[in-house]
């Protein structure tokens, strides 16, 4: 169970105009602007749900994920995940979640993927039998058997992403946060990743929260959509709820574009 209530987060950003004179001026007097990354964000997600979290770049998706995974402390508001506040009880909280940041890597660059997995096993103190069972299952579902002994730096993006997702699931987390898991993947890898996420959600009853810009991810995976723009939750509903801002027969992509336009985000 994930509950966010009235979460606010503001970032302080140093700003200056272009040019040498401005650069010198800033040296003595710095101007800041404040960006409301999250503005009164509230929602509830039940156990076993799969939710697509969408919105344009800079809308606050990643900030929300970071708050939910205990990395970022909000300025105000409450967040309870499985009964814990992530930033107050970080270590116990993160034991029960898995996170994949599509644009980053959690695998050790220089060593075979299997070594990274072993390390994660020790970090999460996963029981050897559970680990073996999970690993065998993930190996089969994500087709990892061939690549697990290769160093991460020699994997293609698609291969690496499959390993990243496996790495996030070795400790059987109750909740899985996926921040753009399909970014940059080819069609085959995308489909493989999608069907895998679906399987994990339905078989293990893992709660999945997924951010993406690829509307096909949303179509293929989620019933429920949370739409965020300029730090506010604008819509909490299903894909068909987006329909009313758009013309009949519009693709998901076109619907979302119409919604962004409508809300001026």
């Amino acid at each position: 169970m994930i509950e966010l209530r009235n979460i606010n987060k503001t970032f302080k950003i140093a700003k200056r105009n272009a040019g040498f004179r401005e650069a010198v001026k800033v040296f003595f007097h710095r101007e800041y602007t404040y960006v409301n990354a999250l503005n009164d964000v509230s929602f509830t997600i039940n156990d076993g749900e799969m939710v697509g979290y969408i919105g344009p770049n800079g809308a606050g998706k990643s900030s929300t994920i970071k708050i939910m995974s205990g990395i970022l402390t909000p300025d105000s508001g409450e967040c309870l995940i499985n009964g814990r506040t992530p930033w107050k009880d970080r270590v116990n909280h993160v034991r029960e979640i898995g996170v994949v940041f599509g644009q980053r890597s959690q695998l050790w660059w220089d060593v075979p993927v299997a070594d990274s997995f072993e390390l994660l096993k020790d970090i999460y103190k996963v029981d050897s039998q559970v680990f073996k069972k999970n690993l065998d299952e993930l190996k089969e579902l994500l087709d990892l058997a061939q690549i697990i002994r290769t160093p991460a730096r020699q994997l293609s993006l698609g291969q690496r992403m499959r390993c990243e997702i496996a790495a996030a699931l070795l400790h059987s987390p109750r909740t899985l946060f996926l921040d753009e898991p399909t970014i940059g993947l080819d069609a085959v890898s995308k489909i493989a990743v999608r069907s895998f996420i679906k399987k994990i959600n339905s078989e293990r009853k893992t709660t999945v929260i997924l951010t993406t810009h690829d509307m096909q991810d949303i179509e293929a995976l989620t019933e429920r959509i949370l739409l965020i723009g300029k730090g506010r939750i604008l819509l909490d509903g299903t894909l068909s709820d987006l329909q009313k801002w758009s013309f009949m027969g519009a693709s998901a992509e076109e619907m979302v574009a119409a919604v962004y336009k409508e809300f001026k985000i």
Binding site: K66, G70, L72, V91, I97, V99, F101, Q103, I123, K125
Partner: protein, 267 residues
């Protein structure tokens, strides 16, 4: 503990992979050690005044320094750590049920030890067979040898505890380059890496001994060669322990504060 041990193992095994770097490093350290000794030899032969260390004490000091360079180099920082702060990859480390301070500490120890293990033996063996007084001699007594090992471990912990503070500073400064350059140029002097501390003017020495930098390589090496002996060993080792506690407490506090207001860079 098991998770930190695994960290140590994985980082250690990565360190051992770089064999070519180890050979190159060894060659550099032989040459550097030899050059330093020749330089001091000229200095000793021309000087009329009494010098603070004997040539034999000095040679042992220099060879130890070269053999264990990897353990005590203050200018070495793990780019992985700076990289993870600057690129925001620290996000993943924050998602693990572990203490980040302890993890980075372990990582640093592993890198330093893995490098030293590959390099120290050939250098020590080679230096032992050089003609006296340019060789490395045995510690002056078995007790001194034992205290040397204790002091060496403490020295390594002090170095790592100190570099942890530099790592944490990257949370505040975004770019760590300035602090690194400062650390490299100034601290090399204060640790005794360039000129052994006894060669500094008397007035400076008292201050230098009290700073944490003397507790890094200078103390263990000076115990080994007998320059620090008797009761002074106890006070030197106590000072190492005091600095270790202060640096650990400071680094840990700064880390906790930094993480509370951390902004993970990038989307």
């Amino acid at each position: 503990m098991r998770e930190y041990l695994s960290f140590f193992k994985i980082r250690f095994s990565i360190g051992l992979q770089y064999r070519a770097a180890a050979w190159a490093g060894m060659a550099t350290q032989f040459a550097w050690g030899g050059m330093t000794i020749l330089l001091f030899r000229a200095f000793y032969q021309s000087s009329q005044n009494a010098l603070p260390m004997t040539m034999s004490e000095l040679s042992s000091y220099i060879w130890l320094q070269q053999a264990f360079l990897a353990l005590y180099m203050v200018w070495y920082f793990d780019n992985d750590i700076f990289g993870s702060i600057m690129s925001g990859n620290i996000a993943y480390e924050l998602c693990r049920p572990i203490d980040i301070y302890a993890m980075w500490f372990t990582k640093n120890m592993a890198v330093r030890i893995s490098r030293a293990v590959l390099r120290c033996l050939p250098i020590l063996v080679f230096a032992a067979f050089l003609p006296a007084p340019y060789n490395i001699s045995l510690p002056i007594s078995p007790a001194a040898g034992l205290l040397f090992i204790i002091s060496m471990i403490l020295g390594l912990l002090v170095v790592v505890a100190f570099s942890m503070i530099i790592y944490v500073s990257a949370f505040y400064t975004i770019s760590p380059i300035g602090i690194r350059i400062l650390a490299t140029s100034v601290l090399e002097f204060f640790t005794g890496a360039i000129i052994p501390l006894p060669f500094f003017p008397q007035s400076l020495q008292t201050l230098m001994y009290l700073l944490p930098f003397a507790s890094m390589q200078s103390t263990p090496f000076m115990i080994y060669n007998g320059y620090i002996s008797g009761e002074r060993i106890a006070s030197a080792i106590s000072l190492q322990i005091i600095w270790l506690i202060i640096l650990l407490a400071l680094g840990k506090t700064l880390m906790v504060r930094a993480l509370r207001k951390v902004v993970v860079q990038g989307g």
